[in-house]
C-alpha cells in the first residue's frame, strides 16, 4: 500500500467483487467435487448391491433346479419299478395257475397205469432213506392190495441193493381222498419219510423253479453264473 489513506470507492468495489467472486467460485468447485464423488459412490454401491443379490439369487435357483431334478429321477425310478412289479406279478400268477392245474392232474394219477409201477419205486426210496430194521408204511385204504405186493418186491430189491434186511408193517391210515403214495416211519414213528404224491409235488414246485423259468419265460439275459 504505497498510497496514503484508504482506497477510493471504485477500488473498494473492485476488491469487493473479486472477493465475492472468489467465495462463489470456491463454493461451486466444492459442490462439483461433492457431486462427482457422489456419482462415483452411487455406481460402486449400486454395482455391489446388484452383484451380491445376483449371486444369492443364482444359488437359490441352482438349488431349485437340483431339487427338481432329483424329484424327476425319483419318479422315473418309481415308474420303472412299478412296471417291473407288474411283470413279476404276472409271472407269479401264471406259475400259480400252472401249479393248480398240475395238482389237479396229480390227484388223478393214482387211477392211471404208471401208478402201479411207480409205487414200488416209491416204497424202495423210503426203505433206502430210512435204512432201519423195522419200518411202518402208511398208505390209503384203497391201495392196500397194491401196497402189499409192491412192498414185498421192494423189500427184495432193497436187500439186493444194500445187503440189509427189513421188516415192513402196513398201516392204512392215510385218507382215501389223498393222491396216493406212502409215508414210511421207523423208530416207533419218531423218524418219518413222507413219500406221498402231495408231498412230492410240493417239493417239485419248489425245486423245479429255475427249470420252469427257463421253459416258460426263456433264458435270463442278465444271468452270468450257472453251476
Amino acid at each position: 500500500m504505497s498510497r496514503s489513506g484508504a482506497l477510493d470507492d471504485n477500488e473498494i468495489q473492485t476488491e469487493m467483487n473479486k472477493m465475492v467472486a472468489f467465495i462463489s467460485q470456491e463454493a461451486r468447485e466444492k459442490a462439483r467435487e461433492i457431486q462427482v464423488k457422489a456419482d462415483e459412490e452411487f455406481s460402486i454401491e449400486k454395482a455391489k448391491i446388484v452383484r451380491q443379490e445376483s449371486l444369492s439369487i443364482d444359488s437359490q435357483y441352482e438349488k431349485k433346479k437340483k431339487q427338481a431334478e432329483v424329484g424327476w429321477k425319483i419318479s422315473q425310478s418309481t415308474a420303472i419299478n412299478t412296471s417291473r412289479i407288474k411283470v413279476l406279478r404276472s409271472r407269479n400268477d401264471h406259475l400259480e395257475s400252472i401249479f393248480e392245474e398240475a395238482n389237479k392232474q396229480v390227484q388223478q394219477l393214482s387211477n392211471g397205469d404208471k401208478y402201479k409201477e411207480a409205487i414200488e419205486n416209491l416204497i424202495l426210496e423210503v426203505l433206502l432213506k430210512l435204512l432201519a430194521p423195522t419200518i411202518t408204511l402208511t398208505h390209503r385204504p384203497k391201495d392196500s392190495d397194491l401196497i402189499k405186493k409192491a412192498s414185498s418186491t421192494a423189500n427184495k430189491r432193497y436187500k439186493d441193493l444194500s445187503g440189509r434186511d427189513t421188516k415192513i408193517d402196513l398201516d392204512s391210515a392215510l385218507p382215501d381222498d389223498g393222491s396216493g403214495g406212502v409215508i414210511g416211519a421207523s423208530l416207533n414213528g419218531r423218524i418219518k419219510v413222507d413219500n406221498t404224491l402231495e408231498e412230492r409235488i410240493k417239493i417239485l414246485e419248489e425245486k423245479m423253479l429255475p427249470e420252469l423259468r427257463h421253459d416258460l419265460f426263456g433264458v435270463n439275459e442278465n444271468r452270468k453264473f450257472y453251476t
Binding site: 462463489s24 448391491i49 433346479k65 412296471s83 441193493l161 404224491l197 421253459d215 416258460l216
Partner: protein, 119 residues
C-alpha cells in the same frame, strides 16, 4: 465507516450463498445414495424375474419329457406282459406234463456213502 459494514454485509451474504450451494451438493449426494439402493433393487427384481422365467421353462420342458417317457414305459410294460402271456400259453401244457411226470419218476439207489453188506 458505513462502507465497511456494508462491505462486510456483502461478504457475509456471499458466504451464505456459498453455503447454500455446497448444501445443495450434499443433499444431492444423500439422494444419490438412496437412488443407488432403489435402482439396484429394480435391477435385482428384473434379474430374479428372468431367472424365474428360465426356471419355469426348464420345468415345463422336463414335464413334457416325463410324460413321453411314461408313455414309453407303459407301452414297454404292456409288450412285456403280452409276450409273457403268449410264451406261457405256448409252453404251459408241456410244463404241466413235465411236472406231473416227475411226481412218479423215481430211480432208487443206495446212498453214495454206503456199501452193500455182503453176507
Amino acid at each position: 465507516m458505513a462502507a465497511n459494514s456494508q462491505g462486510i454485509q456483502t461478504l457475509l451474504e456471499a458466504e451464505k450463498e456459498a453455503a447454500k450451494v455446497v448444501q445443495k451438493a450434499r443433499q444431492y449426494r444423500v439422494q444419490k445414495l438412496k437412488d443407488a439402493r432403489s435402482e439396484a433393487a429394480k435391477e435385482i427384481e428384473a434379474y430374479r424375474a428372468q431367472k424365474d422365467e428360465d426356471f419355469k421353462k426348464f420345468e415345463k420342458d422336463h414335464t413334457s419329457q416325463t410324460s413321453s417317457s411314461q408313455t414309453s414305459i407303459d407301452s414297454s410294460t404292456n409288450t412285456q406282459l403280452s409276450d409273457l402271456d403268449k410264451a406261457v400259453d405256448k409252453n404251459k401244457d408241456d410244463v404241466i406234463k413235465k411236472i406231473v411226470e416227475r411226481v412218479l419218476a423215481s430211480d432208487p439207489k443206495l446212498h453214495v456213502n454206503l456199501k452193500k453188506i455182503e453176507a
